[in-house]
């Protein structure tokens, strides 16, 4: 028997070729008792390995292969908690001083962190076997021996390489001289020899070479796999003592991640108060504010008492206080924020103003947030307006310090496109061909032969087959570390005592070596500070209302249950409204027809993979429309399912159902939720099946219903919303919809200034606003600011009271006193600093002419050309082509040259309407002058192609031909290969459905053509019109229309 002491997983990025799970499973299969995971300069994979080892009962030794500043290596294994902390601190030192992706420590630092660590000195890159001068070697070996004592081992490695004979002789001689015990090992890089080609490819990717030119960078043979005990003993048959010593090392390393004891950082408390008392005080103070009374309703008080008791018992007070402090900081700085997720189930969070949904009134389940049975910390996600999130992040760093606050990592993993690109490069395929190939793949697609053939690759050739196989193998391998969008790990102890910290690519950011799953698995507290564009949008709207109409509004003061708002929502007139603007949501809105806030909560959560695959959507809609009776399988379930007409739509309902109908405790119900979320991965949900069904039957519930409920529970495994989460989102959605309905100008202006965000491009937002009667004015160097602004319209100005034709999806017309002036932020190739130059010059005195503008702004030729092409100089009476010609001459003129005025000015042909819009789209991604198809409408009509308005009045089964600009392509995983597209013209949207067979036939044109023709039949159902495509084609026009970037396959 032996213990593999030096295993590197694929978390030794681009070196190890097996997942940590695979190493642990293989060790278990071989009957090994222990295994040491020692990745290169990190502990990235230890949590996954730990979880798997815990599951299989394997003793896992934790450590790392540490790189020294002389480019040699040493393997350090944690003996105890202290040693593990030392290892993390040592790695932190090495990482923070090195460029991203590298680590270097000194020998002195290794010796300084020796306590609690076992050092295995050996391997190809170690000083012990290297042909160094003996004096230099002794200078290192002496202090090392002194620091580690008998915990220093000479690591004798054998990989059947001829060079190892000499190294081994040297290692043995030196070990003997310094009295270092020899221990045997293989540097394990993969769990099976079959992974050797992948390891070679990973090495090539790391070094940026191909397999043909890799030379000695790749390993010379496939001897780096996990050996069976028999094979290992045979390999070291001449030195059984070295083999036996592997067991000795394993017996010395008893540290387990279960020993990590984490304390949340304590907040500064008022004198004489405990954190529990302080939290209670703040909570009830907040409750009085929330309920606008000193008499807090009894049910609320009871709920708060219950929650506070549990929070105190589980010692979570500090966490709540931290979140409260962050929210207070945001409020003080005027930053919009709102808690979401399961935190909205907590009345304490509501009273602390972390969340905005009243869980008591909504009847939300607190156990979904915290439960006694589950010894896991609560998870509070805080949405912050995205443009100001960095302020909050820096505040957290300042408050806790870099030692106690670090951002959680995320691992960038190989997906199909990156896999094909990197593996293909390593195999020597031309990069241009690989680029063309990867463009044919979407994010969700697997590696397929078919795409290769489309791209001109010969799928039968062995080289291509190899590419396919390796690209499949490498999928899901971590490639490098990145930063989580907003997850923070905060600790009372310095974070490097738990996990190493390293530099992120972004300046000023540091990141830990674990991702959010690792942090959660270990029960550490995480604070999620997430950027939400919708909050930025709302903030902009509120500011505009205050500035131009003197209306002081915030989310809390938006009138509830406004019928006009819901009328617009029911017509799917929701472009730019958070959560209910997507193609799928828009298709659902006319069917669900939300009438109140709770309907909106359902709307937000129903268009999700969970309810869709669980088969809950259609029963719910039928019952809502009175086509099916609302019935409950048992009267006891009525309170649980009443809100959703007897169909479970939320995770909480499933949990409550388990409690009521199957006698689950709240904690068990939460475990059910967790197993739901992970059922595809773990299959743990199956163990609930019998229990649920049997117990439900015992309660008098029919078997058929019980089985249907279980199927629905499985559906939640795909992705379902908790009710609290949907409730938080629905608040933002309603606020947006209300603003859109009543203040469309401010809504549009705010939305344009919050870009990039949401589902639609600026072009679509502008077109939609125009259809709603919003007046948009073009970019103009005299009038435009950096952001879009509002300009007062004269009372009789055209546009103030426009005459409109009936358009689909248009629920109302704006009658506003303001027009939107597009901002210079929309000019491509023009930055905010350049805008500063214009603002500074115009503040002195207005520009009188183009020449004056050029002379006083000091913009370069490219920036001037950008403005000219955007039509920003038309205010000087200079057409775009003239302005382009002139600015080029002016910007190049030197002070000593004669004025350009002396030069003959050529006559350029003025731009026609199509060209004007085309220039707008090229330079500003939108046009206030018209939709790209407007000038072509006559031609299109001549070709028998109607517009969207015409189609919206069509009847079911009509056969039609249509052409429009593609603004969205989607192929959801829940749709069995069906592709949905939204096409746009000047009159509105057309939703196109492409069945799988049609998609296969027209995949290239579907994916690549921005202006697309569709032949098919209309499907009209409850006012929702879909065009079911039979064929797709490229319309033959002499001049192609401009198009903005479409929202594809996200």
């Amino acid at each position: 028997m032996y213990v593999p002491l030096w295993c590197k997983s694929n978390f030794s990025f681009l070196e190890g070729a097996s997942h940590p799970d695979e190493l642990v499973e293989e060790a278990q299969r071989f009957g090994l008792q222990s295994l040491a995971l020692a990745d290169r300069d990190g502990v990235y994979g230890i949590v996954r390995a730990y979880e798997k080892a815990r599951e299989t009962g394997l003793h896992l030794l934790l450590g790392a292969q540490v790189t020294l500043d002389d480019d040699s290596t040493i393997v350090l294994l944690a003996q105890d908690r202290n040693g593990y902390g030392n290892l993390c601190r040592l790695l932190t030192k090495g990482r923070l001083r090195s460029p991203k992706g590298e680590s270097r420590v000194t020998w002195l630092e290794v010796c300084g962190h020796a306590t609690g660590l076992v050092a295995l000195w050996g391997g190809e890159r170690s000083r012990l076997g290297r042909a160094d001068e003996e004096e230099a070697f002794d200078l290192i070996a002496g202090p090392l021996r002194e620091a580690f004592g008998d915990r220093l081992y000479a690591l004798l490695t054998r990989h059947r390489r001829a060079e190892e004979v000499e190294q081994e002789a040297r290692l043995r001689a030196r070990a003997l001289r310094h009295e270092i015990a020899v221990v045997a090992a293989v540097e394990v890089l993969y769990h099976t020899p079959a992974r050797r080609p992948l390891q070679d490819v990973l090495t090539c990717i790391r070094h940026g070479v191909t397999v043909h030119t890799a030379g000695n960078r790749t390993k010379p043979n496939a001897e780096h796999f996990l050996l069976t005990p028999h094979a290992f003993e045979r390999l070291f048959a001449d030195d059984p003592a070295a083999v036996a010593r592997t067991l000795e090392v394993a017996s010395r390393c008893t540290f387990s991640l279960a020993e990590l004891r984490y304390r949340y950082p304590s907040e500064r408390l008022p004198d004489g108060m405990t954190s529990s008392e302080w939290l209670r005080h703040l909570t009830f103070q907040g409750a009085r504010f929330r309920y606008q009374s000193d008499d807090i309703p009894a049910d609320v008080t009871a709920q708060l008492d219950k929650e506070l008791a549990l929070v105190d018992e589980l010692d979570y007070c500090g966490y709540f206080l931290s979140m409260w402090e962050i929210v207070e900081f945001c409020r003080a700085q005027g930053i919009l924020c709102q808690g979401r997720g399961s935190a909205a189930n907590s009345a304490v969070c509501y009273c602390l103003r972390i969340t905005a949904v009243d869980p008591v009134r909504m009847g939300l389940l607190f156990e979904r947030f915290i439960s006694r049975e589950r010894a896991e910390p609560p998870d509070i996600d805080l949405d912050i307006e995205h443009e100001r999130r960095e302020e909050v992040i820096q505040h957290v760093y300042m408050k806790y310090g870099r030692e106690r606050a670090a951002m959680v990592a995320t691992f960038i993993r190989y997906r199909t496109r990156s896999a094909l690109r990197d593996v293909g490069k390593a195999l020597g395929f031309p990069e241009t061909e690989l680029h063309r190939l990867t463009k044919l793949y979407s994010h969700y697609e697997g590696v397929e032969n078919e795409r290769l053939q489309h791209a001109g690759f010969d799928a039968a050739s062995p080289d291509v087959q190899r590419l396919l196989d390796l690209a499949r193998d490498i999928q899901d391998f971590p490639r490098h570390l990145s930063i989580h969008p907003g997850g923070f790990l905060l600790g009372h102890e310095p974070v490097p005592a738990f996990v190493p910290i390293e530099n992120a690519t972004m300046p000023g950011r540091t990141v830990i070596q674990w991702d959010k799953n690792d942090v959660e698995a270990l029960g550490l507290f995480k604070v999620d500070l997430l950027g939400l564009g919708a909050l930025t949008h709302l903030h902009h709207c509120f500011d505009l209302l205050k500035q131009h109409r003197n209306i002081d509004l915030d989310m809390a003061r938006i009138p509830a249950d406004d019928p006009a708002t819901f009328a617009a929502i029911q017509r799917a007139d929701t472009v730019g409204v958070f959560q209910i603007e997507s193609r799928a949501q828009m298709a659902m809105l006319p069917r669900l027809r939300p009438r109140n806030y709770y309907d909106l909560v359902i709307e937000v959560s129903i268009v999700r993979p969970g309810p869709i695959t669980g088969g809950m959507v259609h029963p719910y809609l039928r019952r809502r429309n009175g086509e099916e009776a609302v019935e409950y399988p048992h009267e006891s379930l009525r309170p649980v399912l009443e809100k959703t007409l007897g169909v479970p739509l939320f995770q909480e309902q499933v949990m409550k159902l388990a409690v009521v109908a199957a006698d689950y405790t709240p904690g068990e119900a939460d475990q059910l939720r967790r197993d739901m979320a992970a059922w595809r991965r773990t299959g743990r949900l199956e163990q609930h099946r019998d229990r649920l069904i049997t117990r439900m039957q015992k309660h008098g519930i029919a078997l058929e219903f019980a089985e249907r409920v279980f199927k629905q529970i499985c559906g939640f495994g795909e992705y379902g919303f908790p009710e609290s989460h949907a409730a938080s989102f629905a608040l933002v959605s309603y606020a947006g919809a209300w603003l859109r309905r009543h203040y469309p100008v401010e809504f549009t202006c705010g939305l344009l200034n919050a870009q990039p965000m949401g589902f639609y491009s600026a072009a679509t937002i502008v077109e939609d606003a125009k259809r709603h009667g919003v007046v948009l004015r073009p970019i103009d160097v005299q009038q435009s600011a950096w952001d879009c602004t509002l300009e007062k319209l004269p009372p009789t100005a055209p546009g103030a009271e426009p005459k409109f034709v009936e358009l689909p999806n248009v629920a109302f017309r704006a009658k506003s006193a303001f027009a939107i002036r597009m901002g210079l932020r929309y000019v491509k190739g023009f930055g905010k600093s350049e805008w500063g130059k214009i603002a500074a010059a115009s503040a002195m005195r207005p520009f009188t002419s183009l020449d004056d503008f050029v002379a006083r702004t000091d913009l370069n030729e490219g920036q001037l050309a950008a403005l000219a092409e955007a039509g920003a100089f038309e205010c000087f009476g200079t057409a775009r082509r003239q302005a382009l010609w002139r600015t080029q001459g002016l910007s190049r003129a030197t002070p000593v040259e004669l004025p350009v005025d002396d030069e003959a000015q050529p006559d350029f042909t003025p731009l026609d309407a199509l060209e004007t819009i085309g220039w707008d789209y090229t330079r500003t991604h939108h046009s206030t002058h018209g939709h790209p198809l407007e000038p072509l409408r006559a031609t299109l009509r001549g070709m028998g192609l109607p517009d969207a308005r015409h189609l919206s009045h069509g009847t079911h089964g009509d056969r039609v031909r249509y052409a429009g600009i593609v603004i969205c392509r989607q192929r959801p995983g829940t749709a069995s290969g069906v592709t949905f597209m939204t096409l746009e013209d000047e009159s509105g949207f057309v939703n196109v459905v492409v069945w799988k067979q049609v998609f296969e036939q027209y995949a290239i044109v579907l994916k690549t053509e921005p202006f697309l023709g569709v032949t098919g039949r209309l499907q009209v159902e409850r006012g929702v019109v879909h065009l079911i495509a039979d064929s797709l084609w490229k319309p033959k026009l002499q001049r192609a229309p401009a198009a903005s970037r479409s929202h594809d396959f996200h």
């Binding site: 890799a214 030379g215 010379p220 195999l427 031309p430 241009t432 080289d463 190049r892 350009v900 030069e903």
Partner: protein
């Protein structure tokens, strides 16, 4: 015939690329400067052009316009060879041939003085067309009066070829490319005005800006004020404008062929005596060296071509050709003749020499300052270079070389041989006494490798006399150390070798391996 003609072999690199990738025919194709997504499009075909792809675009951006676009790199050397071939081909039609330095594949031919050969300009153009067709290329040919006009019209024909039509200006198309003959300069000017501006090799930035200004033809371009263009665009755009307005109406600037430095002689009767042959070579060499001296040049190499009595020339060349490389460029006839003599002595002449050709590759002569009092180094590297030259002359070019270590796992992949012309500066070696003092073991084992590993007979490890791995010559194996495994190359034909050092009972140390794929033992080398 006072005409000139322009031949445009459209996008030579593109045609070369399509020859390398025949499966790409029918797809949009582009040549890029680098095989990376950010590689710049240098040439593209008409299909790509119709998709909006233009020179100067990045490949990734071009792919956004045309998802079917195939692209590859064509190296400059391949293009240069192709252009040289065209030059040689076209010189058969006129001595005045100019190759466009900016655009490979564009040539101007001077038609002056060719009336005796071709009755009409059309006949000349047809002959040129036949030649390009015979060579398997597509080329547009325009015969006219002005270099730029013929060039521009030829470029514009690329997209219209194959239509099989004939216009008033005499435009016709046939297999292999379109041909135009202008009857009058006025016809030529009218055609020039209509040429799309993006055909005439304009800088991509200028082309795009002018396109935005609505300037899309040469006619519109020439109407722009020249001074305004100079102010706004680069000098090349300005020059193009001047050419388009006829201000650079120069005839084709024929490239002068470099007169070779060579001498030929026929020997009658055939010469068999090396002494006399050497003397004959000296007679031929001296005038060549005199000429080089007058021109301030020196001889870098001397190619000696010899024809033998009764031995026919091989592909039009004499039967034997050998290059003599002196240690350094020289005008020293004695040194050169010494090298020639060495080679002649080492070469077995099959029969009497009937033809001699000496071809000299000259180089600029270097004059170094005389050094009177500089200490002479112990190692005279110049003398070594002279010795190398003599060795090469006597034994062949590969006679002097050295091993260079390379990156590889297989023994045969760990080194390569390379020629050396000059001895490098010696590196300092540790002194023996120092090595002794430190007690370092300096015993060196030498492993001699076979050029090709020798297959060994299959012998059972248990034989009455022991394991006769290498047959009877080396006796049975006494000790066997290994295996050391080298495996890999799974991306072509996979290898798996298990290496051993076998100590034979007779004392030999053999380096052997078992090839697991071929299931056979091989002798890789011997350890001494």
């Amino acid at each position: 015939m006072d005409r000139l003609a322009c031949i445009d072999v459209p996008a030579v690199p593109l045609q070369l690329l399509l020859r390398a990738h025949p499966q790409w025919v029918g797809h949009p194709v582009a040549v890029v400067d680098e095989d990376v997504p950010q590689g710049m499009v240098l040439w593209h075909d008409e299909t790509a052009r119709q998709a909006g792809i233009r020179r100067g675009l990045r490949y990734a951006a071009a792919l956004g316009l045309c998802s079917e676009l195939r692209a590859g790199v064509v190296d400059a050397k391949t293009i240069a060879v192709c252009v040289a071939g065209w030059l040689e081909r076209l010189r058969r039609f006129t001595p005045g041939v100019e190759s466009c330095s900016d655009e490979p594949g564009v040539f101007w031919l001077d038609g002056r003085g060719l009336r005796g050969h071709y009755r009409t300009p059309r006949a000349w153009v047809d002959a040129l067309g036949q030649e390009s067709l015979a060579a398997g290329w597509t080329a547009s040919i325009v015969c006219g009066f002005d270099k730029f006009a013929t060039y521009a019209v030829a470029k514009s024909l690329a997209s219209r070829e194959g239509a099989g039509r004939k216009s008033a200006s005499g435009e016709s198309a046939s297999r292999g490319g379109a041909r135009v003959v202008f009857a009058t300069p006025q016809d030529e000017t009218v055609a020039l005005q209509r040429v799309p501006l993006d055909r005439v090799g304009l800088d991509p930035r200028a082309r795009d800006t002018l396109g935005k200004l609505g300037v899309r033809t040469v006619g519109e371009f020439v109407r722009l004020p020249a001074a305004g263009l100079l102010r706004r665009f680069d000098g090349a755009t300005y020059r193009l404008h001047r050419m388009a307005t006829g201000q650079f109406a120069l005839p084709p600037q024929a490239e002068q062929e470099v007169e070779p430095v060579c001498a030929e002689a026929d020997l009658d009767p055939p010469e068999l005596d090396v002494e006399r042959l050497t003397f004959r070579i000296k007679q031929m060499l001296d005038p060549l060296l005199d000429r080089l001296e007058r021109e301030g040049r020196a001889l870098a190499t001397l190619e000696l071509q010899i024809g033998f009595d009764g031995v026919g020339p091989v592909r039009g060349r004499p039967a034997v050709a050998h290059v003599i490389r002196p240690a350094a460029p020289t005008l020293d006839a004695v040194q050169l003749l010494g090298l020639v003599r060495l080679w002649l002595d080492a070469t077995l002449l099959p029969s009497g020499v009937v033809a001699l050709v000496l071809a000299v590759e000259p180089t600029v002569a270097r004059h170094e300052q005389l050094s009177l009092f500089v200490a002479k180094p112990k190692r005279d590297r110049l003398a070594a270079a002279r010795a190398f030259a003599r060795l090469r002359a006597a034994l062949g070019d590969d006679a002097v070389g050295r091993v260079r270590l390379t990156d590889g796992h297989l023994p045969e992949a760990r080194f390569t041989w390379e020629r050396i012309d000059r001895l490098a500066e010696a590196a300092l070696q540790p002194r023996d006494d120092l090595v002794r003092e430190r007690g370092v073991d300096t015993t060196v084992l030498v492993r001699r490798l076979y050029t090709r590993p020798l297959p060994l007979p299959s012998r059972p490890p248990q034989e009455p006399d022991g394991w006769l791995l290498c047959g009877l010559d080396h006796g049975p194996v006494a000790r066997f150390v290994g295996p050391y495994v080298v495996s890999g190359a799974w991306w072509r034909s996979e290898i798996h070798r298990e290496y051993y050092v076998a100590e034979m009972r007779q004392g030999d140390l053999l380096w052997v391996y078992y090839d697991r794929r071929r299931r056979q033992w091989f002798l890789q080398g011997i350890v001494e």
